[in-house]
């Protein structure tokens, strides 16, 4: 039995918005693999919950007419990994969410819940930052879309208004076309572990595969919220594909990242990981893009 004050169930987005307005103190519940566990631990105990888990309209991946990829917020991690559109266009996201928790957790955990939690270690988040994803929120007055980097306000706090729920994650066509991505999760064990530090890189090479036209690199657990390493990105843009340049690029991330000491790992280890994971991830991206080092 959970210590829940009351449970309100929404079966449609409209119902969810109505419930949000009627119960301003209620916590939104998607898959529950974080919220229900926190209730068990006493952290969120005794609260009212609005369950949106039964809103089936919020599940699934679609390729929009304009080429954007739209992922319903309640799509489970395992359904993202198995989805053909994801595999064809943004396989890196499917691989990243395949590292969350365990098979059972990947069946219940949702990409919306993962991002709305606002935690820096979310395995989907760094890749969504590296893909320049957009977050779709639906409220009383319709939809609004915000870049994922603006969606995160601070640790544990995201930009959801009192009448809103997150309804989709959108990957714009121009952000994934001709990009090749790779995500590395560093953790203490392979399953059921929280990322010590994770790094996701997207690379677009020139036609002759000799120049970096664009690189986007993002981290989880390199700061209070997921983040991009913009100095490193600026450094590598327009540079030739070489061992020396990707080494420089990897070192440059230290100007951007800001990890801390925690019981999981020291700041020093995380800084080391930031550099090493950047190096390994970009190397893999170059290889996926058909380039040579």
């Amino acid at each position: 039995m959970y210590d829940i004050k009351a449970l309100y169930e929404a079966h449609s987005v409209d119902e969810a918005i109505k419930l949000r307005l009627e119960h301003p103190d209620a916590q939104i519940l998607a898959g529950g693999s974080d919220v229900l566990v926190q209730i068990r631990e006493g952290k969120r105990a005794g609260k009212e919950l609005i369950s949106i888990y039964m809103i089936d309209d919020m599940r699934g991946v679609t390729l929009c007419d304009n080429g954007d990829i739209r992922i319903g917020s309640l799509t489970s991690f395992s359904h993202i990994t198995k989805n053909e559109i994801i595999q064809k266009y943004i396989n890196v996201l499917g691989e990243a969410v395949d590292m969350v928790g365990s098979p059972q957790i990947r069946n219940i955990g949702t990409i919306g819940g993962n991002t709305c939690n606002g935690v820096t270690s979310a395995d989907s988040a760094s890749t969504l930052f590296a893909l320049d994803a957009l977050v779709e929120l639906t409220g009383e007055n319709g939809k609004r879309v915000v870049p994922i980097a603006d969606f995160y306000i601070k640790a544990g706090v995201v930009d959801i208004k009192p009448d809103e729920i997150q309804t989709a994650i959108i990957i714009p066509k121009e952000k994934y076309t001709d990009y090749y991505g790779h995500y590395i999760k560093y953790a203490m064990r392979n399953a059921l572990d929280i990322t010590t530090t994770g790094c996701s890189v997207n690379v677009k090479l020139s036609e002759d595969k000799k120049t970096f036209l664009d690189v986007r690199i993002a981290y989880g657990v390199a700061g209070p919220v997921p983040m991009r390493a913009k100095s490193a990105e600026t450094y590598i843009k327009g540079k030739s594909v070489s061992e020396e340049n990707i080494k420089e690029f990897s070192n440059a991330v230290l100007e951007d990242v800001n990890p801390r000491d925690s019981w999981r790992a020291s700041k020093a280890l995380r800084q080391h990981l930031c550099v090493e994971l950047a190096y390994r991830a970009i190397k893999e991206c170059v290889s996926l893009a058909g380039g040579e080092l």
């Binding site: 039995m1 449970l7 566990v37 369950s51 888990y53 098979p103 219940i108 059921l192």
Partner: protein
């Protein structure tokens, strides 16, 4: 004030309905209302896999699944694997043959993960099997015998 809801679902192939406290987990409902005691209460935070059941063909830790979410779904537990006269299924027998059971607490959950793997109808490498079984903690013996039991049953079902 207690809040109840009528939940209608299919349990091991049988249509059932139950008035349930909305605060109940699916583990609570399966154990208390249906006596499905193969569904174990282990960690109760979704880490150990002892409460694992199949919902619409996919594995879920029922301890972090609200009972009310079972509405309209097809739920399967280890009890559903038994034959008409209580005969064991091939995967259960394989766990015995391979000594993949010691205290037995994690076993029903692991077997339900194995059922999802077996029913997918495809083959997997040992590494893939390890990953697919990684949502379970066994504190008795380790995992080699479990892996062997799943491997052998899979090979047999695929006619290898």
């Amino acid at each position: 004030m207690a809040q109840y809801k009528l939940v209608k679902f299919t349990l091991n192939g049988k249509k059932v309905e139950q008035m349930v406290d909305v605060r109940a987990s699916l583990t609570d409902m399966l154990r208390n209302d249906y006596r499905m005691t193969s569904v174990k209460k282990g960690c109760e935070v979704g880490e150990c896999g002892a409460c694992n059941v199949l919902i619409n063909g996919e594995c879920f830790n029922s301890c972090i699944y609200l009972a009310v979410w079972a509405d309209g779904k097809e739920v399967r537990t280890l009890e559903g694997l038994l034959g008409e006269n209580g005969e064991l299924s091939d995967i259960q027998q394989a766990f015995i043959d391979e000594a993949a059971v010691q205290c037995g607490f994690c076993t029903p959950g692991v077997i339900m993960s194995a059922v999802e793997i077996l029913e997918s109808g495809r083959d997997y490498t040992d590494d893939e099997l390890r990953k697919l079984l990684s949502g379970h903690l066994c504190r008795c013996t380790g995992y080699e015998n479990i892996l062997r039991a799943v491997r052998k049953t899979l090979d047999k079902r695929l006619g290898k």
